[in-house]
């Protein structure tokens, strides 16, 4: 009897305990106790407790707990839920928390960042572009001030680490935009890009080892992302010496619109700057851009960008002893549509691009009409497996068609109007189908490692190829990091008037970048080596079959006091090229390319920058003699056997730019006034040697001499 009573008492006591308190321990996957985790009943979230240092918790149960669920949560871990009915031992509950993988909301934000972001050498935000001393508010011009930019033609088209622009790729919202500059047909132009900084959210620059999430680059990559949401409605009107423009940003319901247009005219600019623009006669450009963004839900968002430009330029051209007015005209439209869908830790993106252009170019007996179209589609899948692993895979198809209805000189040197010509009517097409996989692994906070593979899926008799890469970033501490990249890459050369075919190019690269940041400055350095293969037709008489590039670069930025910043960089490039005659000195060889800037930025008063750039003149092959050819009715040049044995004069340029933002309290929120003087010293920087008709004499064509520009922007 006593035993029975004791048993009943024990049972009652244990049942009573089970119903009044729960206790247990919370650990992580490594069985380490989790301190300060929340433990609570789902129906009574405010009556929870937290774990102690050993992960233990004791929780008083509410009256109606049987149908409830025990919840355990902590920052950085996935929330764990445990239905009460599944708990066998209420006083010894073991809860194991898993490390948090990024949730659906996470992807909404992080999904917009490229998976390869950590391997970008430079990242630029709009403010970086506006404050960049050489950008003139143009996003691609801003890149030309980087040490890695080796543009020797004053163009905005990215030349990175000694490789020609047509080996690099510019992508906008994940879609390639070929030849992203204006007026690119005539020497000395292509000065500005097609992009408007106001519609851009950020830019990643990969001077080498382009991430294989994109194909068609065998040099570097510039990845541009568009702004999506409009934070506040605004209107901007701008007027300058050579342009007038409008930009409006409107949020209408859940639709975010940005619409802009510019008209560029030449008369005031040319008249004010004569006689320093001897070759430029006229330009007349109109462009319009529209961006529409809408998030249909937390999961689904759509972004459309559409752009059109109509441009016309007249300038004096010179070629092989012939001088004449060159006329160029081009209309172009490109459209980019991206659809992104997020689901749990996964993201799908569909990207579509279309591009259409018609261009005419007339010079002497050359009359070229080019019609291009491009259709690009890609389907990409990204998964955030956990905080350490992210991977992405996808497939893309790029269709390009180029049609040339040309009348070209029968002899490459004979441009005179009465010289014989050839009529060409060529249409060429390229189907490029590729698949890729890219993974990024962050084993610790010091290391990030990525690997990528990209292969084409040959269509018809296409040559098959495989691109691969490995990149690693090591953070020595929070100030210093090293970035190692190596790989093999492929791209198709874009057909042009010279070289009317799609040529497969390949490169192998290795590079090591070092980055040191401190409170007042930054030091970056790099060494790199590249081997570039593939037939690159530079002129009708010159084909580069292979190129070897070695280089090193260094840049330093230091703030002095509150408002001054000094920065300087240098890059050394040694290039050897192989032509049909063997290995030769490459024209991209640069024994130095120094860029230096001094800036004074005071938000209230003025932003001023002085920029100096200098480099040796580019190498070229001299014409040593000429023979009159009756069939061409011209003198045929005889080139020196010393390939690239001559050099243009050294390049020096000093620019000044000033701007001031005046904030107002009325309807007009601010007025920006700006002015710039390029090539203040009016230096004669030789761009090309120009011969007379029998090649017995020559002079030089020069880069832009001193020019003044100013304008104003009104913001409502």
């Amino acid at each position: 009897m006593r035993t029975t009573i004791l048993f009943i008492l024990i049972l009652a006591a244990s049942t009573g305990w089970a119903q009044s308190r729960f206790s247990g321990q919370v650990t992580d996957l490594a069985n380490q106790p989790v301190f300060a985790a929340n433990v609570y009943f789902k129906q009574h979230p405010q009556q929870g407790t937290t774990t102690d240092l050993d992960g233990h918790f004791t929780l008083k149960t509410p009256a109606d707990f049987q149908a409830d669920t025990l919840v355990c949560s902590f920052i950085g871990y996935q929330t764990s839920v445990l239905p009460i009915q599944e708990i066998q031992y209420p006083t010894n509950i073991q809860i194991q928390l898993k490390e948090q993988s990024l949730n659906i909301n996470t992807i909404t934000v992080s999904g917009k960042s490229p998976i390869s972001e950590q391997f970008a050498v430079q990242q630029l935000k709009p403010l970086d572009i506006y404050l960049n001393p050489v950008s003139n508010a143009d996003p691609l011009k801003a890149i030309t001030f980087l040490a890695a930019s080796t543009n020797t033609d004053e163009s905005a088209n990215p030349n990175l680490r000694g490789s020609p622009a047509d080996r690099s790729l510019v992508v906008l919202n994940g879609v390639p935009v070929q030849n992203p500059v204006r007026n690119s047909q005539i020497n000395g132009t292509g000065f500005f890009s097609l992009f408007n900084t106001e519609v851009i959210s950020n830019i990643q620059v990969y001077p080498g080892n382009p991430p294989l999430t994109y194909g068609n680059s065998s040099a570097g990559l510039v990845e541009v992302q568009l702004r999506d949401e409009v934070p506040e409605n605004s209107l901007q009107l701008s007027a300058g010496l050579a342009s007038a423009g409008l930009l409006t940003q409107q949020k209408i319901g859940n639709n975010h619109f940005r619409l802009y247009g510019n008209y560029q005219f030449s008369k005031p600019f040319i008249e004010l700057n004569q006689p320093n623009l001897p070759d430029l006669k006229k330009f007349d450009n109109k462009d319009i851009g529209l961006s529409w963004y809408r998030a249909f839900s937390d999961q689904l968002e759509v972004h459309l960008f559409s752009y059109g430009i109509d441009e016309a330029v007249r300038a004096h051209g010179h070629s092989f002893g012939y001088s004449d007015l060159a006329k160029a005209q081009k209309t172009r439209n490109f459209n980019i549509l991206t659809v992104q869908y997020q689901n749990n830790n996964q993201q799908w993106s569909l990207r579509h691009g279309s591009n259409f252009s018609n261009s005419q170019y007339q010079f002497g007996n050359l009359n070229s009409n080019a019609h291009r179209q491009q259709w690009y589609h890609s389907l990409n899948f990204k998964e955030f497996t956990n905080a350490k692993w992210t991977w992405q895979t996808g497939i893309n198809h790029d269709f390009q068609q180029a049609g040339f209805q040309d009348t070209i000189p029968r002899y490459f040197f004979a441009f005179a109007e009465n010289a014989p010509t050839l009529a060409l009517d060529t249409t060429i097409r390229l189907h490029q189908l590729e698949a890729y996989a890219y993974a990024s692994w962050e084993p610790s906070s010091d290391w990030v490692i990525s690997a990528g593979l990209r292969s084409n899926i040959p269509i018809a008799e296409q040559e098959s190829y495989l691109s691969f890469q490995l990149s690693a970033r090591y953070r020595l501490d929070h100030q210093q990091s090293f970035l190692l990249g190596l790989g093999q890459y492929h791209n198709y050369r874009r057909p042009a008037f010279v070289g009317q075919h799609f040529e497969l190019l390949r490169s192998r690269q290795i590079s090591l970048d070092y980055d040191l940041q401190w409170d007042e400055g930054q030091l970056q350095a790099a060494i790199f080596a590249k081997q570039e293969q593939g037939n690159q037709e530079i002129e009708r008489y010159l084909q580069v079959l292979e190129s070897q590039i070695m280089g090193t670069e260094i840049s330093l930025q230091q703030d002095i006091g509150k408002y001054w910043r000094a920065e300087a960089s240098n890059i050394l490039i040694r290039q050897r090229i192989r032509t049909a005659d063997g290995w030769q000195r490459g024209d991209q060889t640069l024994h130095y390319f120094v860029k230096a800037a001094l800036q004074w930025n005071h938000p209230r008063y003025l932003s001023a920058s002085m920029v100096y750039m200098t480099r040796p003149g580019t190498y070229f092959t001299e014409v040593t003699d000429a023979i009159y050819q009756s069939e061409s009715r011209s003198f045929a040049p005889v080139f020196s056997t010393d390939f690239n044995g001559a050099q243009l004069g050294a390049y020096h340029r000093l620019d000044l730019s000033l701007s001031r933002v005046i904030l107002l309290s009325g309807n007009i929120k601010s007025i920006i006034v700006y002015a710039s003087v390029n090539n203040i010293l009016n230096q004669n920087n030789q761009q090309v040697r120009r011969y007379n008709s029998d090649f017995s004499d020559f002079d030089y064509g020069y880069f832009q001499k001193r020019t003044i520009y100013f304008g104003t922007v009104f913001n409502w």
């Binding site: 308190r21 380490q32 106790p33 989790v34 301190f35 300060a36 929340n38 609570y40 979230p45 405010q46 009556q47 929870g48 407790t49 937290t50 102690d52 240092l53 050993d54 992960g55 233990h56 918790f57 004791t58 008083k60 949560s73 920052i75 950085g76 948090q100 990024l102 949730n103 996470t106 909404t108 934000v109 992080s110 935000k125 403010l127 970086d128 506006y130 404050l131 934070p231 506040e232 905080a387 610790s444 906070s445 501490d477 929070h478 409170d519 007042e520 703030d559 006091g561 509150k562 408002y563 001054w564 800036q599 004074w600 930025n601 938000p603 933002v661 904030l663 309290s665 929120k669 601010s670």
Partner: protein, 264 residues
């Protein structure tokens, strides 16, 4: 006088903390177990109290003492949390020395806060939010030409905080705060409102937890009223002021904004 105002503000902060951010009673009642890490319990409150004491007495010893105690937390299970609160304490020490015109010492403290957070392994949303806030406070020391750069870094940290937890009101507050203090000439002031509205409409904590941060909501209210005043949106300013005064009646920083709304 200046100290008195600061004192009033800080007292109001404290009372509001107790009033709102730490709904302790039901929570404490269920807490029948032990709390061996008493130092870290309600640590946010302790730091603010030490700060007020330091300001009143014009003596940093209370904060120093707390800093020393936090530094001595060596148990690896609590070390990360202790690091967070050490950084938070350095943030307040920075304000203390700024108020006392000791710029060099203030700068050392904010640098230390940034250093502690930057070196933290596997940072979570709260770590990034505090790092962003600390960077924002470092701007006055570095400022000028560096301001956009630091602001950019702060913005990146704040966005990371948001990536890791979209329900973290402190992440929204620091995004707004960073934009609020970025000069309009550099494009600042455009995303203040939307982020502060999110910050004030989210709970200070997912679940009451005496070890984890709860700051940000009052600060968000105060900044939103200031923002509306700056934009001369008087009706919005009055409406948010009324809401804030009801939620945080003892917050001096909020109540003193009333003078700017009279006759508007």
């Amino acid at each position: 006088m200046k100290n008195l105002i600061i004192l009033l503000f800080l007292c109001s902060c404290l009372s509001c903390e107790a009033h709102n951010n730490t709904p302790a009673p039901p929570y404490q009642a269920s807490l029948v177990s032990y709390q061996p890490t008493s130092l870290l319990e309600n640590i946010e409150q302790k730091i603010k109290t030490a700060f007020i004491q330091s300001m009143v007495q014009q003596d940093n010893s209370d904060m120093d003492k707390l800093a020393k105690q936090l530094k001595e937390v060596s148990d690896p299970k609590a070390e990360k949390l202790a690091h967070y609160w050490r950084a938070y304490l350095h943030y307040y020490q920075t304000i203390y020395f700024m108020e006392n015109d000791e710029e060099k010492t203030a700068e050392k403290h904010i640098d230390k806060a940034i250093d502690l957070l930057e070196n933290m392994e596997e940072k979570n949303s709260e770590d990034y939010a505090l790092l962003a806030m600390a960077r924002g406070l470092s701007i006055p020391f570095k400022a000028g030409i560096r301001a956009p750069f630091i602001s950019g870094k702060a913005s990146k940290n704040a966005n990371k905080a948001l990536e890791l937890n979209k329900q973290n009101p402190r992440a929204y507050f620091v995004i707004a705060s960073n934009d609020f203090y970025t000069p309009e000439q550099y494009g600042g002031g455009k995303i203040v409102e939307e982020n502060l509205l999110k910050a004030i409409n989210l709970p200070a904590q997912d679940k009451p937890n005496p070890y984890l941060p709860a700051w940000g909501q009052q600060e968000a209210y105060e900044m939103l009223i200031k923002f509306y005043i700056k934009k001369e949106r008087w009706d919005d300013a009055k409406s948010i002021f009324a809401e804030a005064s009801e939620k945080f009646p003892d917050n001096h920083q909020i109540s003193k904004l009333a003078s700017k709304l009279i006759n508007k």
